[in-house]
């Protein structure tokens, strides 16, 4: 499942609730790998007081659905959950959750890493940081 939302969320509670909502997985799941991305209060040498995440509504959801489907096609996994914020965020706010459930850990780790890497390099989100010297668009990661 994917969700793109402006509301704050609790990544641990969401992962727990999603797993609890699938009692049919009981005993079939040997591994869960979770990535939580959180807003830091410093970046590229400056203090960040807050951030606004712009996104391309519609394309974002399509992209996250596609990446989740690719992960399911490439690795033997049971399910995935991706939640991503947009709009205004404060330091320490969770930005993104990627959770992958599978029988064995190797598939869970690889699929989780694949989804977050694809999301970071391709999903249409843009971070605008508010710093002491004004607003700035965050530069993309090298590579």
């Amino acid at each position: 499942m994917i969700r793109v939302q402006s509301e704050a969320f609790d990544p641990w509670g969401e992962a727990a609730a999603y797993q609890a909502a699938h009692p049919q997985w009981s005993g079939k799941i040997g591994a869960a790998t979770i990535f939580v991305g959180t807003l830091r209060d410093f970046n590229q040498g400056q203090t960040v007081s807050s951030m606004t995440l712009e996104h391309y509504a519609g394309m974002t959801e399509k992209h996250l659905d596609m990446v989740s489907a690719e992960a399911k096609a490439r690795w033997d996994i049971v399910d995935t959950l991706v939640i991503h914020r947009y709009g205004p965020l404060a330091p320490n706010d969770p930005i993104v959750l990627v959770a992958v459930w599978s029988a064995h850990r190797d598939a869970a780790f690889q699929a989780c890493r694949y989804i977050i890497d694809e999301l970071k390099t391709r999903a249409p989100f843009w971070k605008l940081e508010q710093t002491g010297s004004g607003n700035r668009w965050v530069a993309p990661e090298a590579g």
Binding site: G37, Y56, F125, W137, A139
Partner: protein, 82 residues
């Protein structure tokens, strides 16, 4: 007698591209437009900047990809989500 409404090309801009153009979207008459580069030229009045990303109907595309009336074409800088 009913005339079909002419389909426009919807153009959308995000992040720094949106700020530079001073607007979030345009609706363009498809006349003279063959590909995404033509869309940018007609909307912005200049050739597309380097490193700009293009999506047609919410899928990544290249500047030389064909655009049809009714399409949604988006221009944006490299993404920074996650």
């Amino acid at each position: 007698m009913v005339f079909a409404k002419m389909k426009v090309i919807t153009v959308r801009y995000f992040a720094s591209i949106r700020e530079q153009l001073g607007r979030g979207s345009d609706e363009l008459d498809p006349g003279g437009i063959i590909n995404a580069a033509d869309v940018w030229q007609k909307a912005a009045g200049s050739p597309a900047p380097s490193r700009i990303l293009v999506a047609i109907n919410q899928e990544y595309a290249s500047l030389d990809q064909t655009v049809a009336p009714g399409d949604e074409v988006a221009f944006f800088p490299p993404v920074t989500g996650g």
